[in-house]
């Protein structure tokens, strides 16, 4: 394997790196006037990187042929699928930002640049097949994310969110590093294939601790219970476009990374981590559902909703099968669409003075004042609750089906019963919008880009989205198979 091949395999990342650096220069010299241009160019770069990723997914790349730099990074179908999802989410977050920041005169060209670098980090995360690459990707993403969280410098909540995210993120990274060092110490290698081979025979106590710490660090990143505490605060405090970004792209990357670590590096010891994942899954579903009930702030509520959804994704991971990984990716895709849609809808709610509204009182009777937004939110909420005929239902069916195929029937039963608790606050959302008297606060808001994203997301999760399930299923199956080269 020569370097040319390796560079050929990481072309999407190279495109992102190059354009990120160029855009950084444009931003530095162009000043605030350049923010529109930089946003557009960043979206174009992401689109280009995405189109360069498609062949790997289409060919179902996997195994040694997709490994670059002597097993540091893998451009297989799994990473290709995750990358496409991340890029799409990042483009969405770039599109919605100008409308929000422009209102506050806070749109700066650094925003698209930071998003681009965060996305590059995620791109590396999802393709990492070595603990070192993993960590570099993770930190690149995190550093950009900390800055993004406090992007509204004059807003104290935004600054608090950035600080909180940084402190807890650093703690998580520390835990992760500790786990990685233990794993390295007991297996003698940092490559996933090597760890897997070293643990074929059995798991020593030290290596088990390494595994647990690695999973705990990753649980922070995907905000799975019991490492979820930062999520509501950060989601509430960060500017809404940034929250949208946090809830979508980095979540995809962290989940994909967790899946690869669990199924590839620790794949030979699935029984060792399965109970941890099952606990985290059920705890996330239940805490995410119960925590959301008392919330009055919509962004906080959606933060709990994302904790809840991570629980369902982890059910797919607990299955530890190709079907489970495929179901995870399917769920992730619908989750990204639903989150993007619901955050954009929240973003579009402004009062007469142009201030963003984000509490339940503000959206009472929204269906009378903003029927279009209310209808889209209705569909998105029922989809998040997993009520047919919306696509969120099919995503849940996929993960539960994977759990049942893996023989985890009790997990499926408890998980689906707990999903009813979650349904409570989703339908409360609908109740507030549809059953209460209108307060008429949310009167305007929403640029053409917002409407476009909201309508696309709603159409995707509507029953029409079921027509796409065959294609999506085929893609997730290919991607998941890339994770199990032996199968």
């Amino acid at each position: 394997m020569d370097y040319a091949t390796s560079f050929g395999l990481i072309i999407p990342e190279l495109v992102l790196t190059g354009s990120g650096l160029v855009l950084l220069m444009i931003a530095a010299f162009g000043g605030e006037k350049a923010s529109r241009l930089v946003s557009i160019l960043a979206a174009v770069a992401l689109g280009a990187a995405g189109s360069l990723t498609i062949p790997a997914l289409a060919n179902g790349a996997g195994g040694d042929a997709s490994m670059a730099f002597y097993g540091q990074i893998s451009a297989d179908a799994f990473s290709a699928f995750a990358k496409l999802l991340v890029y799409a989410a990042a483009i969405g977050c770039l599109m919605i930002a100008p409308g929000f920041f422009g209102q506050r005169r806070a749109m700066k060209p650094e925003y698209p640049v930071l998003v681009l670098f965060a996305t590059l980090g995620m791109s590396i995360m999802v393709s990492a097949t070595d603990l070192m690459t993993l960590y570099i990707g993770l930190e690149l993403n995190s550093l950009a994310a900390y800055v993004l969280a406090s992007f509204l410098r004059n807003d104290s909540r935004s600054a608090e969110a950035g600080l909180k995210y940084f402190v807890l993120g650093a703690l998580a990274s520390g835990i992760l590093l500790y786990g990685m060092s233990l794993t390295y110490g007991f297996t003698g290698t940092t490559s996933f294939a090597g760890i897997r081979a070293a643990q074929e025979a059995g798991l020593s106590t030290g290596a088990l601790f390494g595994l647990i710490f690695v999973l705990a660090g990753l649980a922070f990143k995907i905000s799975a219970v019991p490492f979820h505490m930062w999520t509501p605060d950060v989601y509430q405090g960060a500017p809404t476009p940034v929250t949208t970004f946090f809830a979508t792209a980095p979540k995809v990357a962290a989940v994909a990374l967790t899946a690869r670590v669990a199924l590839d590096a620790f794949g030979s010891q699935a029984d060792a981590w399965r109970q941890i994942v099952i606990f985290a899954a059920l705890a996330s579903i239940i805490v995410g559902a119960l925590g959301a009930i008392g919330q009055n702030n919509l962004k906080r509520l959606l933060a709990y909703s994302s904790i809840n959804n991570v629980g369902f994704i982890l059910i797919g991971l607990a299955a530890a099968t190709v079907e489970g990984a495929s179901a995870m990716l399917f769920y992730l895709t619908t989750y990204v669409v639903m989150s993007l849609g619901s955050f954009v809808a929240v973003l579009m709610l402004r009062n007469g003075e142009g201030e963003n509204l984000e509490t339940f009182e503000d959206i009472a009777g929204l269906s009378s004042t903003r029927p279009g937004v209310a209808l889209c939110l209705l569909a998105l909420m029922f989809s998040l609750a997993g009520i047919p005929p919306l696509l969120g239902f099919w995503a849940k069916v996929e993960v539960f089906n994977a759990a049942i195929q893996a023989g985890l029937v009790p997990l499926a039963v408890i998980g689906i019963a707990a999903s009813v608790i979650g349904a409570f606050y989703y339908i409360k959302f609908v109740k507030v919008m549809y059953f209460e008297e209108p307060v008429g606060r949310a009167t305007k808001g929403g640029s053409a880009a917002h409407w476009a994203i909201l309508i696309i997301c709603t159409l995707l999760i509507s029953p029409l989205g079921f027509l796409l399930t065959r294609g999506l299923q085929a893609m997730t199956d290919t991607a998941a198979a890339g994770l199990f080269p032996g199968v």
Binding site: I387, P389, W394, V397, F400, N401, I404, I416, L467, T469
Partner: protein, 532 residues
């Protein structure tokens, strides 16, 4: 049989109507909804006319491999045909019932009803178990909105209770369905109907399905969402709820629980019979003390549905046929009773029984219709209720005479609460001046109630029209469950012939002459009587 996709068309018409309703003004929306439901009614009638009685089990089948994991497969048998007919028959009436009483957000209201119609037809026509589940569960969304937006004062509590109760019941069934698909390797209902699941697994599967259908039915003690939902829902919402949505539970039992899990069904007969007996007596007694008309009818629905469940689990064709007729009859009768309540509610805006009285004086035509439906609910011969109760109780009697005895007391109680309701509302003196001043039914209300009255009498006088399409399907179910049929409690056997009658007394000839007058009747048929 791949012919004209009439079932898809029946799904498409309300869908197009619903989308149209969202964009037009109130009066246009009413007409759009009425026309869409009437088109579906016409399509339904042509479905019935073209249904080949005694032909293939599944007719009008359509199949398209559109989705991952399940198929878009439609097709109906006689049972589904009858329930689809019930839905398309009640829908235009519901639209008429809301013609003037719904004034806010008419377009959305009509759209919700049309979506409801689509989903109900879909449930009965689905031939894929996951497609069935999607239609079955999706009904929650429009019903939640109908109760929550257009309901009464306490509508939010009622809508939440309705939604969460029925959702919790259903989700476990989904897991069971996924397990079945994995075990049998297909999600096609006709194939699953022939698949023999291991008896140990059947127990769990049956319980999972039971959790869903018992809530939908609703069976005692998980019926408490029903009165709340009925009372708060607008009139047309109640009609759909009582008329069709409650039938989903019974349809589920007849389509899934019985033929797919015969052994488990036999194993749980005691549970179903026990709950049915309690339901009939308890809810009838509760209905007796209601002050709210809608609540009273809601509790009477629970009592009637208990006869349906008992009839279904009688394991013989009479019981199942009776249960089916009961579902159809109850759909018409309780729907009509809710319409009757709606007629006077629209005038006085109260459901309080005590606020009415003596309506026979100022609303004689209304009183006549109300009487007919009251009698049909009680089960007077000549109405559909009689046929339904008679056949189902005859079926249950073969399985358990005790259950039949208890269920029959329910009918007596039913006569009690219905006649008591009728006396308080329609007879007696006119205590309330405003109630006494109400005008009689107008043309629109005639148009709503007259067709239902005709259908009730038709089913009462000539039930064969309704039984004929279902007969072979019910026979197929009976044949399917025959291997598990539990023994009934009445073990009739022919005894050895005796030489003498039981009261034969040897050597006492002539001594009993003094008491002959008293014994006369008994002695006449006996052998001793012949000697005199």
């Amino acid at each position: 049989m791949e012919g004209f996709p009439i079932l898809s068309l029946m799904l498409l018409v309300p869908l197009v109507g619903a989308v149209l309703c969202m964009f037009v003004n109130a009066s246009t929306a009413r007409w759009v909804a009425l026309i869409a439901t009437l088109i579906d009614l016409v399509l339904g009638i042509s479905l019935w006319l073209n249904f080949d009685i005694g032909g293939a089990q599944w007719q009008f089948t359509e199949r398209a491999n559109l989705f991952a994991g399940f198929e878009y497969a439609l097709g109906i048998d006689g049972i589904a045909l009858m329930l689809i007919m019930l839905s398309v028959f009640l829908m235009p009436i519901c639209i008429l019932a809301s013609w003037t009483s719904v004034t806010k957000r008419v377009g959305e209201y009509m759209a919700a009803f049309l979506v409801m119609e689509l989903l109900m037809i879909g449930v009965f026509a689905a031939q894929d178990i996951l497609l069935f589940y999607i239609f079955f569960e999706a009904g929650l969304i429009p019903m939640y909105l109908i109760i929550g937006i257009w309901g009464g004062d306490d509508r939010i509590y009622a809508s939440f209770k309705f939604f969460l109760y029925t959702l919790l019941g259903s989700v476990v069934m989904l897991i069971a369905m996924l397990w079945m698909i994995q075990e049998a390797g297909t999600s096609s209902i006709p194939v699953l109907l022939q698949y023999d699941f291991p008896p140990e697994a059947q127990t769990w599967l049956w319980l999972a399905f039971f959790a869903s259908f018992a809530v939908k039915m609703p069976m005692w003690p998980v019926h408490t969402w029903l009165p709340a939902a009925h009372v708060q829902a607008p009139t047309a919402g109640s009609v759909i709820l009582a008329g069709v949505l409650l039938k989903l539970g019974g349809y589920g039992f007849i389509r899934f629980s019985l033929p797919m899990f015969p052994e488990a069904s036999a194993q749980f007969v005691w549970l179903v019979f026990g709950l049915s007996m309690i339901a009939v007596v308890v809810t009838s007694l509760i209905a007796l003390v209601q002050h709210d008309m809608k609540k009273l009818i809601a509790y009477s629905s629970v009592a009637h549905m208990a006869i349906v469940t008992a009839g279904l689990f009688a394991f013989n064709s009479q019981g199942i046929e009776g249960a089916m007729v009961m579902m159809l009859s109850h759909g018409l009768v309780s729907g009509a009773l809710f319409l009757c309540v709606g007629v006077i509610y629209d005038r006085l805006h109260t459901r309080e029984i005590a606020r009415y009285g003596g309506l026979a004086t100022n609303m004689p035509r209304y009183a006549l219709f109300f009487l007919l439906f009251t009698m049909a609910s009680i089960g007077l011969p000549g109405t559909s209720g009689f046929v339904a109760e008679f056949i189902s109780l005859a079926g249950i009697y073969q399985m358990s005479s005790t259950t039949t005895f208890v269920l029959t007391t329910g009918i007596i109680l039913g006569a009690g609460y219905m006649l008591y309701l009728y006396r308080r509302v329609v007879f007696g003196e006119q205590k309330n001046a405003d109630a006494a001043a109400m005008p009689d039914m107008n043309a629109r209300e005639w148009l709503m109630l007259a067709p239902v009255a005709a259908a009730v009498l038709w089913m009462g006088v000539y039930p064969e029209s309704f039984l004929a399409p279902m007969r072979s399907d019910i026979a197929a179910i009976e044949a399917r469950i025959a291997r598990a049929t539990p023994a009934g409690d009445a073990q009739l056997e022919a005894g050895a012939p005796r030489d003498h009658a039981a009261n034969y007394m040897a050597g006492e000839h002539g001594s009993g002459h003094g008491a002959e007058g008293e014994h006369g009747a008994a002695e006449e048929g006996g052998s001793e009587g012949a000697e005199h």
